[in-house]
């Protein structure tokens, strides 16, 4: 697992605009970047966990119920 750096407000603004298609207000980017940095730190142990062959807990169910 590679280390990540705290996302900069500029990176956050570009990602929101270019990858998500939801531009952020200029005044929001610092706060979103700070929140993301905190989330990434909290996710560190989860990202590093060896989950072996486990598949995701949420799986597609082919037996769709009748509408």
């Amino acid at each position: 697992m590679s280390d990540t750096q705290k996302p900069s407000p500029e990176t956050v603004a570009r990602a929101a605009r270019e990858l998500v298609g939801t531009p952020l207000d200029e005044g929001q980017t610092d706060a979103v970047a700070a929140l993301l940095a905190g989330l990434i730190a909290e996710m560190g142990p989860m990202r590093a966990m060896d989950v072996g062959p486990s598949e995701p807990a949420t799986l597609y169910d082919a037996s769709e119920p009748a509408p």
């Binding site: 996302p7 956050v12 990602a15 929101a16 990858l19 998500v20 939801t22 952020l24 207000d25 929001q28 706060a31 979103v32 929140l35 993301l36 989330l39 909290e42 996710m43 560190g44 142990p45 989860m46 990202r47 966990m49 989950v51 072996g52 486990s54 598949e55 995701p56 807990a57 949420t58 169910d61 769709e64 119920p65 009748a66």
Partner: protein
């Protein structure tokens, strides 16, 4: 001194036997709701006309000999639960005019059992927070100390029951949002097993971790209400086909030999002394009732927090994305910020979190093989003052999220049934809650433990000063 508010069981018995009419019970509930709206803001919408019509229908049915387990019981629902004819605001300006297209299954079930809807309760905006502060519809102060928050996100539901307006209100719980406000407000809050109660007609926060359940004063009422709510619902394809037991039937069975696990590492670290003392005393009380407390380990707690964060932010952002594009400025700044951050989390983190979830669930199943349920505190601290950023705990200043949700959210990730139960008061007179966690689909055991505990203690009988006044 004000009398203890009547329970669901007591009201239903009185209405069923003709001692009271549903109409008189509902009129009293509506009057209490009006009395307490300022300054507690428990309701976003009151439903007096339909409530009185429903109550009169219940009275007619009783006169014709109908038997209903919740006859004439006034109830309220968190305002993310749809009721046709009324708006579902999710506690947000962004949804202030959202008309419900239908009625949630849980509401239909309660009305079918004779209960009467009196209103839709206030909440932390979009259920994405836990203090009960709400800039659009007013904050929900704690009835035990209005300078402090009531907990959320099902804040209005907790306040409505704690103030004695109605004996039951429904909430939703994605990271502790039923159990926390119940604990901080001196109530019982039950989060059933994931899939046990239908989510149909309930606006999601995070589909794979959302649970609907009751806030009440007694475990017996929780069992009574769960008997009405539990079961498969064709409208919710995550609802379970597991058989539904009669939850009220075995409540009085003794606890002799029951094994209660204490996960000391992770769940008993750094608690406020009053909280630690109350929960230790609760363990001793349960032991005196015949249960055997044993130490157990729940691994992966650090990973659980990160997995919960990845899932809740991703799923909430996915749901709200079209609304953000349309009306981002109508969300409050903190909620909008969280949703926009969720848009930017990598998909691989979401799927790693779902893989972690499966590993954790298997590991904890091994822990539950040696015990019948777990006992923890519901929160590390009693209710904090509005505006607090952290709480001072023995381990140092602790962010509110960790202090108030850290011991609750693991069971949203795993889906185990869990409930908070009043177990004492701090020196400041604020309620302390313990948490009981059961095996998947074994709500019956934690309800029995809670009921036996409440038969031996009187914490749940105490009434907030606001009600006395």
């Amino acid at each position: 001194m004000t009398a203890e508010p009547a329970s669901c069981l007591e009201i239903a018995a009185a209405v069923q036997t003709g001692v009271r009419t549903a109409r008189s019970v509902v009129d009293a509930a509506l009057a209490q709701a009006e009395r307490f709206q300022e300054p507690f803001h428990p309701f976003i919408t009151l439903t007096p006309e339909t409530a009185r019509e429903q109550a009169e229908r219940v009275d007619d049915a009783v006169r014709r000999g109908a038997r209903m387990p919740l006859a004439g019981v006034p109830f309220a629902v968190k305002d993310l639960i749809d009721v046709k004819g009324f708006r579902t605001t999710c506690g947000s300006r962004a949804f202030a005019d959202r008309a419900a297209g239908g009625t949630a299954t849980v509401v239909e079930q309660l009305i079918g059992a004779g209960a009467v809807l009196v209103g839709k309760t206030n909440m932390h905006e979009c259920a994405f927070g836990f203090t009960g502060e709400n800039p659009a519809f007013g904050d929900c102060p704690n009835p035990w100390d209005p300078q402090r928050f009531s907990g959320g996100s099902s804040s209005g539901s907790a306040v409505a029951v704690a103030l004695g307006i109605c004996p039951v209100a429904l909430g939703s719980d994605t990271g502790g949002s039923i159990r926390l406000p119940a604990a901080l407000s001196g109530l019982v809050g039950l989060k059933p097993t994931y899939g046990r109660v239908s989510r149909a007609g309930v606006v999601p926060l995070a589909w794979s971790m959302d649970h609907v359940g009751p806030l009440v004063r007694t475990a017996r009422d929780a069992a009574l209400v769960l008997e009405v709510l539990a079961g498969e619902d064709p409208r919710d394809d995550t609802s379970s086909r597991e058989p539904v037991p009669a939850y009220t039937r075995n409540l009085d069975e003794p606890l002799d030999g029951l094994r209660i696990g204490l996960a000391r590492a992770g769940f008993f670290d750094s608690l406020e002394p009053d909280v630690a003392g109350a929960v230790e005393a609760a363990g001793a009380e349960l032991a005196s009732l015949g249960a055997r407390c044993v130490d157990v380990a729940l691994p992966y707690l650090d990973e659980v927090l990160g997995a919960h964060r990845a899932i809740i932010f991703s799923e909430a952002a996915a749901y709200h994305r079209p609304f953000l594009a349309d009306r981002a400025d109508q969300y409050s700044a903190p909620v909008r910020l969280q949703l926009e951050a969720g848009l930017l989390l990598p998909a691989v983190d979401y799927f790693q979190a779902q893989r972690v979830r499966r590993v954790v669930r298997r590991a904890w199943a091994e822990t539950f093989a040696s015990v019948d349920c777990l006992l923890t505190t519901a929160s590390q601290a009693v209710a904090a003052r509005f505006g607090a950023q952290a709480v001072d705990l023995p381990g140092g200043p602790t962010p509110l999220l960790h202090a108030y949700l850290g011991l609750l959210l693991p069971f949203n990730l795993t889906g185990h049934p869990a409930m908070s139960v009043p177990c004492g008061f701090s020196g400041d007179g604020l309620p302390v809650g313990m948490q009981l966690v059961g095996r998947p689909f074994d709500e019956a055991t934690i309800l029995r433990v809670a009921h036996q505990y409440q038969q031996a203690t009187d914490w749940h009988r105490r009434i907030a000063d606001a009600v006395e006044g």
